[in-house]
Amino acid sequence: MPKNIYEKIWDFHTVHDDPSQGTLLYIDRHYVHEVTSPQAFEGLRLAGRPVRRPELTFATMDHNIPTEEDRTKPIADPLSKKQVDTLKANCAEFGITCFDMLDRRNGIVHVIGPELGLTQPGFTIVCGDSHTSTHGAFGALAFGIGTSEVEHVLATQTLAQQRAKTMEIRVNGKLPMGITAKDIILAIIGKIGTAGGTGYVLEYTGEAIRDLTMEGRMTICNMSIEAGARAGLISPDEKAVEYLLGRDYIPKDTPPEELAARWSQWASDPGCAYDKVVELEAAGIEPQVTWGTSPGMVTSVNGRTPVLNEITDENTRMAAAKALKYMDLPEGAPMREIPLNKVFLGSCTNGRIEDLRAAAQVIKGHKVHPAIERAMVVPGSMQVKQQAEAEGLDKVFKDAGFEWRAAGCSMCLGMNEDILSPGDRCASTSNRNFEGRQGKGGRTHLVSPAMAAAAAVRGRFVDIREWQFN
């Protein structure tokens, strides 16, 4: 019987089928960062348990760290410093590889995993971080877990799971000019809702998905969690193979053709079944901008904020009213007229080299608008930063008036100094527009990198399809 990719990975990784506990799945890769791991290591110590497979776990620090270019300076915030030092000490104690701040391979966990070739097709990958779904772009079953589960994986290299339902999300046809992966995923979330994927693992298929680069596919899978799904997958193809070959952790002693053959067999079989299928036409997708405090509160750049009495469902109306109040936006306001004062380019959603290239192309020969008090670029990893500098992108950004920072999560969640102030309104390439996410009282509008760049130049949202490139 033809199988979809989820079923293949699930079956291959089943250690034991316990009718009550669920299926014990073997975990091929475990990524760890400083914020969700200290209590897990502490738990191991208290129980006197070792890490079962330290060579399958890799650590990085990203959430908490400053993004100043000089990384030799000690971390000023004593709590952040303690968390970073604790991760380093835990990794040393348990024999885990850690890409610390001074390592050239450091970066956001979901950027460096694929970049280093640690993420591979057919793998099971977990991390104490909900955006672990990103790695699904390579055809890996990857999902976020809590700290107790981090401890469980460290101790047993397995996780007991209930089988999820599968949903195919097919994006048909060619993507119009100027429309990006970010617009696709925001449009999907707008369509199925932030809980639409709950209980499902998503597989993205269709011509528009096939046409995306690996970077674009990562953006899509990254935000599966914003659609309520723990994991999103894309069947591996020649683009995935090409991206991965030659990277640091790809076995060098296996011939490339063999790797390619091995990887491609994970792809969903023709004629496989899903529990649910959702279809979208790429041609109908416009540049997306969120207006509210949940990623599903999204519309076209040419759209308007909602009019409350047009919303029939009482709970939805209540949520929309609350969001408009927090966002300080009137009903029925054109998205293009919302004035901005901050721009953030970065995160595990859109902090990759292709994202920086797209933004730089828009910025080139322009200046950041006087109303924009701060525009920052935070590359997703130190390797992305280095690559961008080699291409001269840093200069384009700096000439325009952007800050050029070192890698980290930065203003995506504002755990370090990079935060919005109350009342700030930010065009952000990250993934969450929750209340206070980027700083208490800050207001976030999620957009693609090109849209964020254009907003930086104009001080307002513009339809990127009308942009005059220099």
Binding site: G22, Q39, L79, G146, N315, L413
Partner: protein, 197 residues
Amino acid sequence: MRPFTTHTGIVAPLDALNVDTDQIIPKQFLKRIERTGYGDVLFFDWRYQADGSPDPEFEMNAPRYEGASILLTKDNFGCGSSREHAPWALSDYGIRAILATSYADIFYNNCFNNGLLPITLDAATIQGLLDETRAQEGYTLHVDLPAQTITKPDGATFAFEIDGFKKECLLNGWDQIGLTLRHEDRITKYEAARGIA
């Protein structure tokens, strides 16, 4: 893990959809390396005003909900970040059970690993409980996990569904790692078959 069998407690309303874990506990409190001490900062941005005093507009702050241990809320509770600090903060605040129309997956699992019982009820039941909670000061519910029932102050009792194994784990306070390690020989065999030495 602390077992959960039966519990009687005051109900606090949180009348909102899509309450994300950033709201349950904002990021500035994730810098600690302990599991405890997060109760005071639960719902921080909603609960406190800029000067640090309780915000009277936040319904749960009303004195009548003081000491509440059952949280009543709506769709997709606990969405967003996987931070287990969210159930830690709820537990630390004193919450033992949550009643909602639906939960985000990761949060739902995290609850069970912390002795917190998330109960799923239909929208009409939730709305009914919400109305009664607001109408009646000191509104308490009795949750009986072995019987899978909830009893209202007037004695009316209704049932809820829960996965059998999850229920068993909560009742016994089982350590998941211990449970898995019963299968250690199978893990070793799997690794050998895959050449993971």
